[in-house]
Symmetry: C2
DNA sequence: GGTATGTATGTTATACCATAACACGTCAAG
DNA sequence: CTTGACGTGTTATGGTATAACATACATACC
């Protein structure tokens, strides 16, 4: 599977697909995809774009879950730890991972016009970064690679 | 000049050197390195690590400058625009650029133990990222590449 | 079944990060 | 000497994130 990218796609299908794989992954590990956590993942998948913690929280509260920040942050942190979601530093926001389970070093392409976020294949990027870090004697544990620019649609519009 | 890295170095020298080059750059352009801005740059250089805006503000206030957040943020934003400082998204913090003027795509190595931050040469990383983005039709304007891990000293200590 | 233990959720309170909007001062151009 | 651009100071507010504690729920073990 290539990256989901900015192009149109069968959204219901990709959402269901990811959820199913999330369930499978959580059984494999000893992790529990509780109602709040599952719902947060669904919300992220439905939105299909980066959402702030407080946006997620609002949705949760409207559905009878707790309405205090920690409720959202805990679920989001869990999803990030489990590789089911990613945090976009640049936007102080979160987005569902579109191919959970696969080992992947995420690189994000953020459109500054429409705010869409795509995951790009980042292995070569990571390799280059490892090389640069290695020559400094630095041991990388996690990396975040985020690019801001214009997605294809917004380039066309301009 | 290679990256400053995590190793010991003549700190007074690198600070003075960068300041001198900042002055030169500001004359070239039509930009003004006013007292507040210059002082903020000095503070960042002296600290030689990432500092939050409020940390900088505290220092400024103690020296008779304004003590409200915008004072710090405006100076910091100016320095970032001019390429004299960088924002570290991961830390909500700022750090002085160690080689201003030189075209450079910054990649940051952040030690999770001692919080030191080094700039690593990122051209290859950037190239790989451009390639990945290009295949999606995405046009990169700015990128932030940040790695969290352990610096050499903290690896040795562990 | 009952109970202990760990984990998840809910809630209060607070800390931290960032910017909008307006007032005042200064300096150079006209 | 006035106008306009820019920089700084200040008030107020908005957005992001977490510490700390209380409660509930699940599972495993007796």
């Amino acid at each position: 599977m290539q990256t989901p990218a900015f192009h149109s796609h069968d959204h219901a299908h990709c959402t269901g697909d990811v959820l199913a794989r999330a369930d499978a992954l959580m059984s494999e590990r000893a992790a529990r995809l509780t109602p709040v956590r599952r719902r947060v993942l669904e919300i992220l998948l439905e939105a299909h774009r980066a959402m702030g913690a407080y946006d997620v929280l609002q949705r949760l509260a409207a559905e009878g879950f707790g309405n205090q920040p920690p409720v959202a942050y805990r679920a989001l942190d869990f999803l990030v730890e489990q590789g089911l979601a990613h945090r976009i530093q640049r936007l102080n926001a979160f987005t569902a991972c579109m191919h959970p389970g696969e080992a992947h070093a995420p690189a994000f392409l953020i459109c500054r016009n429409c705010n869409a976020v795509a995951e790009a294949p980042a292995s070569p990027v990571l390799a280059a970064l490892e090389a640069a870090a290695g020559s400094e004697g630095f041991a990388i544990e996690r990396a975040s690679i985020e690019a801001v620019g214009l997605c294809p649609s917004c380039q066309a519009a301009a």
